[in-house]
C-alpha cells in the first residue's frame, strides 16, 4: 500500500468519525492568522461535506492539521483541545526571515561602509601622504593597499559577502530545522501511536507531517531517530509517553538552535563595523602624528 493510500484511508476514517467537529474547525480557521487559515478552512469544508477526496487533497498539503482527527477516537472529549493545540502552536524562532534579514543587513552595511571608505576617503589621504613623501606606518600601508584592491575587486568581494551572508543564514536556519523536523515528526508519531494507529501507518503519516521521505526503523535516518525507534519497541501506551519525551527533547534543541541566529548577528555586526572603523581611523591618524613629529 502506497503512502498516499495510507493517508487516504486514515483521512476517510477521520472524516467519518468526526463529522460533528466541522463547525469547530470552521471557528478555528477564522481564529488563526490569515496566512495559516487555508489548511484549516479546507479541512473544515471537507469534514462538513464528508468529501473524502477533498479531505485527502487537504491532508496531502498540510498533514499536521489532520493529526488530531486521525489520532482521536470517536467521542473523545479531548479532540477540540488537541485541534486548538495544533492550531496555536507557538513559533520556535523569530520567523523564517529574521536570521536572513539580520545577516544580510550586516553584510550590506559592512560592504557599503568599506566601499565608501575605500573609494572616497582613502584616495584623499593617499594623495596627502604622497605629497609628504614619508615612510608610512605598516597599519597605514595595509589600509591604503586595501583601497586599490577593493576598487578592482569589489564585485567579487560583494558576491563573496552575499554568499557568506546566505551561507550563514543557511547554517543558522538549517541546523535548527533538522531538530524542528525531528520534533514535529516525533510529536506526530506520539499522537498517532497514542491514538491507536498502527506503527507502520503512524511512521508514514508522521513523515508526511515533517515533509520527509519515507523512514525505515531498521535504518533510522532523520527525522526518525534512534530514540524514537527504541520507544516504538514498547507497547503503544508506553511508546506514546516515551515519544512525547523525545519530541520535547528535540523541541528544546530546535528552540535553542533558532535563538543563535537571533542573538549572534547583532554583536557580530557591531564588532565588524566597530573594528573596521576603529582601525581605519587609527591607520589614517598615525601618519599625522609622524608629520607633526617630523615638523617639530
Amino acid at each position: 500500500m502506497s503512502d498516499r493510500d495510507v493517508l487516504a484511508r486514515h483521512v476517510a476514517a477521520a472524516i467519518e468519525r468526526h463529522r460533528g467537529v466541522a463547525a469547530y474547525l470552521g471557528l478555528v480557521a477564522e481564529a488563526v492568522p490569515p496566512h495559516e487559515r487555508g489548511p484549516w478552512r479546507r479541512m473544515a469544508e471537507a469534514v462538513a461535506a464528508g468529501d473524502v477526496a477533498a479531505g485527502v487533497e487537504a491532508a496531502r498539503r498540510a498533514t499536521a492539521c489532520w493529526i488530531p482527527l486521525i489520532a482521536t477516537a470517536p467521542g473523545d472529549h479531548r479532540l477540540e483541545a488537541r485541534i486548538l493545540q495544533a492550531a496555536t502552536r507557538a513559533p520556535r524562532g523569530g520567523g523564517p526571515w529574521a536570521a536572513l534579514g539580520l545577516a544580510l543587513a550586516t553584510v550590506t552595511l559592512t560592504s557599503v561602509l568599506t566601499l565608501l571608505f575605500t573609494t572616497v576617503v582613502l584616495p584623499v589621504f593617499e594623495a596627502l601622504f604622497d605629497d609628504f613623501g614619508m615612510r608610512l606606518p605598516w597599519l597605514t600601508r595595509v589600509t591604503l593597499a586595501v583601497g586599490p584592491a577593493a576598487r578592482r575587486g569589489w564585485p567579487l568581494a560583494a558576491a563573496a559577502m552575499v554568499l557568506g551572508g546566505v551561507g550563514w543564514w543557511f547554517l543558522v536556519r538549517q541546523a535548527p530545522r533538522r531538530a524542528s523536523a525531528a520534533a514535529d515528526f516525533t510529536r506526530a508519531l506520539a499522537r498517532l501511536v497514542a491514538g491507536g494507529v498502527a506503527y507502520d501507518d503512524a511512521l508514514v503519516l508522521a513523515a508526511r507531517v515533517a515533509d520527509a521521505p519515507p523512514v525505515d526503523p531498521a535504518d533510522p535516518a532523520r527525522p526518525l531517530t534512534y530514540a524514537a525507534v527504541a520507544a516504538l519497541e514498547a507497547p503503544p501506551v508506553a511508546a506514546a509517553v516515551l515519544l512525547d519525551a523525545v519530541a520535547d527533547c528535540h523541541d528544546d534543541r530546535a528552540r535553542g538552535g533558532s535563538s543563535i541566529g537571533e542573538w549572534f548577528v547583532g554583536p557580530l555586526a557591531v564588532a565588524t563595523i566597530g573594528l573596521l572603523v576603529g582601525l581605519a581611523v587609527i591607520a589614517l591618524f598615525l601618519p599625522l602624528v609622524q608629520v607633526v613629529s617630523s615638523l617639530s
Binding site: 527504541a230 564588532a271 566597530g274 598615525l286 602624528v289 607633526v292 617639530s296
Partner: protein
C-alpha cells in the same frame, strides 16, 4: 549499515570526536536526560535503553557520558548513582531533582515540575542574556584593542613631542593619563573575571562553584517546586525538606532546608529559613491551606520577580553600556586631538 566496515569506522570516528569534546552537558542536553529518565520510569521501560538510543542521536561528549550512564544502569546502579558517577551528564540542579525524585519515589512529577519552571530552558530568556553578554564582550574587546593601541603607540609619541617642545601638557591629556593610571590599578578585576571564566570553562566543578551564588535564587525556586510536589504526593514537609537538603550540592541551600523541620507552624519555619516571605508563610499556615498550591504559587512569584529583574537588567545594560563607552571614547579622542591641535598651533 551499523555492521558494515564503513558503519564501524564512522562509529569509531564519532566516539573519538566525543572523547575529544567531552566537557559537560548543556542545559538542553541535561534537560533531555531528565525527560528521558522520567518518561522511561513512567512508561516502565529500562532507562538504559532510552539513554543508549539518545546517545546514538546525540552529539559531542554527551554521547559518551550517556553510554557510560547506560552501562552503569545495566550493572544495577540507580539513576542518581549513575548521574553521580558520570560527571557532567546533567547539570547540578537537575541532578538534585533526579536524586530527590528517586528518594521520594516521584521522579516523573518532580522532573516535570523542575523542567516546567526552568528559566534557562526558555529560549527568550537565553536569547536576551546571550545578546547582552555578546554585546558586552564585543564592546569591551573592541574598546580594549583600540584604546590599547592608542595608549601604547600614539600617546607616548605625543608626550615625547610635547616634552621636546617644552610646552606644558594640556589638561585633558593630563586628566586622561591620571585616569589611565587609576584604571591600571584596577586591572586585577578583569584579570580575576577572566580567571573565573577560565576555571568555569575548564572544570564543571569549578563552574558550579563560581556560578553557585548567582544561581541560588533559581535553586530556591526549584526547591519550593520540589517541596510542593512532595506535599501533593503526601510526603510530610519535614521529611521532604530533610531529603531535599541531603540531595543538595549547594551547602548554603542545604543549610536553609535543614532549618525547616521542627514544630508547627510550617509557614513560619519556611519563612525563618528564608525560603518564602512572611505573606507566603502566613498563607501556608492558614486553616485548610493547600500547602502544595501555596508552595507552587510562592515558586511562581519568585520566578516572576527574577524574570522581571533579568528583563530590567537586559534592557538597561545596552543604553548604560553605550553611554559609558561613548564617554570613554570622547574622553580619549579629546585627549589625543587637543594636544595635536595645540602642537599645530605652536608650530604655525
Amino acid at each position: 549499515m551499523r555492521d558494515t566496515i564503513l558503519g564501524r569506522a564512522l562509529g569509531a570516528i564519532r566516539r573519538a570526536w566525543r572523547r575529544a569534546w567531552a566537557t559537560a552537558a548543556t542545559r538542553v542536553e541535561s534537560a533531555a536526560v531528565l525527560r528521558l529518565v522520567a518518561a522511561s520510569i513512567t512508561a516502565g521501560v529500562p532507562v538504559a535503553t532510552m539513554l543508549d538510543a539518545w546517545a546514538e542521536d546525540g552529539r559531542g561528549g554527551q554521547g559518551t557520558r550517556l553510554e557510560r550512564a547506560a552501562g552503569l544502569l545495566r550493572r544495577g546502579a540507580t539513576v542518581s548513582e549513575a548521574v553521580a558517577r558520570v560527571p557532567g551528564l546533567v547539570q547540578e540542579d537537575h541532578a538534585v531533582a533526579l536524586a530527590f525524585g528517586e528518594r521520594i519515589g516521584l521522579v516523573g512529577p518532580v522532573v516535570r515540575a523542575t523542567l516546567a519552571g526552568d528559566e534557562l530552558l526558555d529560549p527568550t530568556a537565553r536569547r536576551e542574556l546571550r545578546a547582552v553578554g555578546g554585546y558586552l564582550a564585543v564592546v569591551v574587546v573592541s574598546l580594549c584593542v583600540i584604546s590599547g593601541f592608542l595608549a601604547i603607540r600614539t600617546l607616548p609619541q605625543f608626550l615625547k613631542i610635547i616634552d621636546d617642545m617644552g610646552t606644558s601638557r594640556p589638561w585633558i591629556l593630563v586628566s586622561w593619563l591620571s585616569f589611565m593610571e587609576v584604571l591600571g590599578g584596577w586591572l586585577w578585576v578583569p584579570a580575576c573575571l577572566a580567571g573565573m571564566v577560565a576555571v568555569g570553562a575548564c572544570s564543571a566543578t569549578g563552574r558550579s562553584l563560581v556560578t553557585r551564588p548567582f544561581s541560588r535564587p533559581r535553586r530556591v525556586t526549584a526547591a519550593l517546586d520540589a517541596l510542593a510536589v512532595a506535599q501533593a504526593g503526601g510526603l510530610p514537609m519535614d521529611e521532604a525538606a530533610v531529603v531535599l537538603a541531603e540531595c543538595q550540592g549547594d551547602p548554603v541551600l542545604a543549610a536553609m532546608l535543614a532549618r525547616v523541620p521542627g514544630p508547627e507552624p510550617r509557614g513560619g519555619r519556611l519563612c525563618a529559613a528564608g525560603l518564602v516571605d512572611a505573606t507566603q508563610g502566613a498563607a501556608l499556615d492558614a486553616p485548610a491551606a493547600d500547602a502544595s498550591a501555596v508552595l507552587h504559587a510562592a515558586a511562581a512569584a519568585r520566578r516572576f520577580q527574577s524574570n522581571r529583574r533579568r528583563l530590567v537588567l537586559c534592557r538597561m545594560l545596552g543604553p548604560v553600556m553605550a553611554l559609558a563607552v561613548g564617554v570613554f571614547v570622547l574622553f580619549q579622542a579629546l585627549a589625543v586631538f587637543v594636544p595635536l591641535v595645540e602642537i599645530i598651533h605652536a608650530l604655525s
